[in-house]
């Protein structure tokens, strides 16, 4: 029983970074530009957030500057893609590699560390506990006492859904993705709409990164994103930007992630469970490739 609860809690904890990043990716995806730079955005936010949370002793500062760092990356990405018309994949991948390099440089140059940053002074994201959940012991164990951004990530699913399908901005985003000439004919700027998608996407990825260092791990490691940015991209493509499908897919990946840490090593060599999330990603991509083809052909 306790094992089951703990497994579910781990699944939820591991769902959040994927969910948050994928929701951000969805904003760009529906506006017609896939976000290939999520991995780098998450990494730089995780590092900058962690540094600020132990230098200032305030998680608010950590969260703010972590997200700000991701937004700067997002704006650079947007300038290259929207203004300089560079290839979105080339720039995204380059940014990912560059953020890895910058992060390694910073912890080496300023903190004399090889791959990990850990400080006693770090003020991590607060754990939220709701007293109304105390009454039911199961619910309390399952749903209470999570790090700040975990409940927020689930609330953002609803928020994203409402923005996409109920607000003017959501209609502009989706129109920009579906028929850009409809947007320009209505006198709106495609570039402006997509730029805001880049920024929102970066904010979400920033929060996902901050959660990894300041919520989930309580430290920074160069390998802490571990391909989650790409898994999030797969999730976005899989759900074609629909927040509900993004939620379901993120839960599946989160559960797979948690399971991979829990499969006893006597049964299967430990390397195999660790491959699980990536194998699922590849399967998901194969499954959705048929859909992707029809998507690109309707773009033309």
């Amino acid at each position: 029983m306790e094992n089951t609860i703990e497994f579910l809690r781990a699944s939820i904890r591991l769902t959040t970074p994927l969910l948050m990043a994928a929701l951000g990716g969805a904003f760009m995806q529906v506006s017609g530009v896939p976000n290939v730079g999520m991995e780098g955005m998450m990494l730089i936010a995780a590092l900058v957030g962690y540094i600020f949370c132990f230098t200032t002793g305030s998680w608010v500062m950590g969260l703010f500057f972590g997200v700000a760092a991701a937004v700067i990356v997002g704006i650079i990405y947007a300038i290259f893609v929207l203004r300089l018309k560079a290839d979105i994949f080339a720039v995204g991948i380059t940014l990912n590699i560059m953020m890895g390099g910058i992060a390694a440089y910073i912890i080496r140059r300023y903190y004399d560390q090889i791959s990990i940053l850990l400080s006693q002074d770090a003020k991590l994201l607060p754990i939220l506990s709701f007293s109304f959940l105390d009454k039911s012991p199961i619910l309390n164990l399952l749903l209470n006492n999570y790090s700040l951004l975990i409940p927020i990530s689930f609330l953002l699913v609803a928020a994203t859904y409402i923005v996409f399908y109920k607000t003017p901005f959501g209609f502009w985003l989706r129109a920009a993705g579906s028929n850009p000439s409809a947007v320009s004919a209505s006198g709106k700027s495609i570039t402006g709409i997509r730029l805001s998608a880049f920024v929102i996407s970066a904010v979400f990825c920033g929060m996902a990164g901050v959660h990894l260092s300041m919520g989930y791990l309580g430290m920074f490691a160069l390998s802490l994103v571990a391909g989650r940015g790409f898994i999030a991209l797969a999730i976005v493509l899989f759900g074609s930007g629909n927040p509900i499908i993004v939620l379901i897919a993120s839960l599946i990946f989160g559960i797979a992630d948690a399971a991979s840490l829990r499969i006893p090593t006597e049964v299967i060599p430990p390397q195999f469970p660790l491959m699980l999330p990536y194998i699922i990603t590849i399967l998901a991509i194969i499954l959705m490739s048929r859909y992707a083809r029809s998507f690109t052909s309707s773009e033309q």
Binding site: I162, K166, T167, P168, F171, W172, R174, A175, S178, N179, S181, A182, V183, S184, A185, S186, G187, K188
Partner: protein
């Protein structure tokens, strides 16, 4: 009588090309004004300037008497100008209301879209247009003509007083065209001003209050509909008799190399080429002309194999090639200089060398097993550059960095040096300078004199008259005339082109 639109000396240059040349154009409020002209006459440029999609190089625009500068479509919309594009600007996944209100969604409390209000207004507009359409389904499920009228509705929803329609009937069947014209008449009654670009004389006559004719970027005349007749209009569209004629020796044709029999080509369900039959002999230039969009492009694509024929036969050198793919047709002796140099004629991001060897690379002298023989290819490419006077600093620069004329010479050089007995040359002089044009023309005549069969597709009257041994005219998918240049004048050719006359 007030003027809805007045332009003063509007000029638009694209590089050295003059798209609009000092145009004084005015439209009376509440009238339907047709703008006629051949392809490339500058009609679309003029209206794009009015809608802010292009900025004029010089000139002034007045809308309802007020001098304005229109930087972008948003400003044009604010001036109550609506533009109905040739392509659809609807989002297929959205409902009618979501499309009409895109960018100006009304909101109830805070920031949620309020489509109930939109739907009421949409319903009024659709009632007025007599289009009872479902409001709760995505527009992708409607037919082409319904979406066309939806585009008009969208402009009206945005409060357009002036509606500009760019070739609105090109996607419609004849019955649907009548319906559209009825709607436009209705809108005129409601006091809207309508500018309709078309190359179809009949439409202009049946609906317009005034007709303007553009030719080669110049506004030839604007005349009230009752003070002009078809003959005059055709004359204005096609211009005067050509001054220079090229020297071309008469010689007997050889056998019929290309025979097209009852060829039909479909685009989805729409029949674009209807029952076309003709032949081209060795030593002959067959000039195919017509106003753009009457099936010439599709006919050519079917000949070279880019588009399947729906019915009929194409015989080449006695063999039926209708089921052959492009490569097989080319290897059997066809070469093709396409209309669109940049998209089809060349790979502009590749080097000149790469572009020149395409299609030649599988010839035995250029490869050994899987490897290309670069030395041979280079000397071959250098020969073409020299023979066809391509001005380029090296073989390694991108083809895209060449000027239009040089790129055209490169493509013609590549295709002509295949030494195939049949050449298809589409719009060879479009967008290139006079010197290059002359060069291309003399090359075509030289090949003809040595016994090649040439299909020349062109909308340029001078080119057609000067080069062709016989002229075929297409109108709405049919070959309506086959004639000889010495047997007709430009005016008669114009009549064939606009469908007011036929001889086969």
């Amino acid at each position: 009588m007030t003027l809805a639109i007045e332009t003063h000396q509007i000029t638009k240059l694209y590089g050295d090309t003059v798209a609009n040349d000092h145009i004084d154009f005015s439209v009376i409020e509440g009238h339907i004004h047709a703008v006629l002209g051949e392809n490339g006459a500058g009609k679309t440029t003029l209206v794009k300037i009015l809608f802010g999609e292009e900025m004029p190089t010089e000139g002034e625009i007045k809308i309802f008497g007020k001098t304005v500068t229109i930087h972008n479509p948003a400003e044009a919309l604010d001036l109550s100008i609506g533009f109905i594009h040739q392509h659809f600007t609807l989002v297929n996944e959205f409902t009618i209301a979501q499309n009409f209100a895109l960018g100006i969604e009304p909101c109830n409390n805070l920031f949620f879209c309020d489509y109930d209000t939109v739907n009421k207004k949409v319903k009024n507009i659709l009632d007025m247009l007599e289009m009872p359409l479902k409001l709760d389904v995505p527009v992708g499920s409607f037919s082409v003509e319904e979406r066309q009228i939806m585009e008009i509705g969208k402009a009206l929803y945005r409060g357009a007083q002036i509606l500009i329609l760019d070739e609105p009937t090109s996607v419609l069947t004849p019955q649907k065209i009548e319906k559209l014209l009825d709607i436009l008449r209705k809108l005129r009654q409601e006091g809207k001003t309508i500018i309709m670009i078309t190359h179809k004389l009949e439409e202009a006559f049946s609906i317009a209050d005034e007709i303007s004719v553009l030719r080669k970027g110049v506004l030839v005349a604007t005349l009230p509909h009752d003070r002009v007749n078809r003959e005059q209009l055709i004359r204005m569209m096609v211009g005067e008799e050509p001054l220079i004629t090229l020297k071309k020796e008469d010689h007997p044709f050889g056998d019929a190399l290309v025979q097209v029999r009852n060829l039909c080509v479909n685009n989805y369900d729409n029949r674009i080429v209807k029952n076309v039959s003709f032949e081209i002999h060795r030593g002959e230039i067959f000039g195919l002309t017509g106003v753009g969009g009457n099936g010439q492009a599709e006919l050519v694509e079917a000949l070279i194999g880019m588009r399947p024929a729906s019915e009929g036969d194409i015989r080449f050198d006695g063999k039926s090639v209708v089921h052959w793919d492009i490569q097989k047709r080319r290897l059997s002796g066809m070469a093709y200089v396409p209309e669109n140099r940049i998209e089809r004629g060349a790979a502009v991001s590749l080097s000149i060398l790469d572009n020149l060897v395409m299609g030649h690379h599988y010839l035995p002298e250029f490869h050994q097993g899987l490897l290309l023989k670069y030395k041979n290819l280079q000397s071959f490419a250098r020969d073409i550059i020299k023979d066809f006077e391509v001005v380029a600093s090296s073989l390694e620069i991108n083809a895209g960095s060449l000027s239009g004329g040089n790129l055209q010479k490169l493509i013609i050089g590549r295709e002509f040096s295949l030494n195939t007995p049949f050449l298809i040359v589409a719009y060879p002089s479009q967008g290139i300078d006079i010197r290059t044009t002359k060069y291309v023309h003399s090359e075509l005549i030289r090949r003809r004199d040595t016994g090649y069969a040439i299909l020349l597709v062109s909308g340029d009257m001078d080119e057609i008259f000067n080069l062709s041994d016989r002229i075929g005219v297409m109108y709405s998918g049919e070959l309506v005339a086959i004639t000889k240049p010495e047997e007709i004048n430009r005016f008669e050719l114009g009549q064939y082109m606009v469908g007011s006359r036929r001889n086969c």
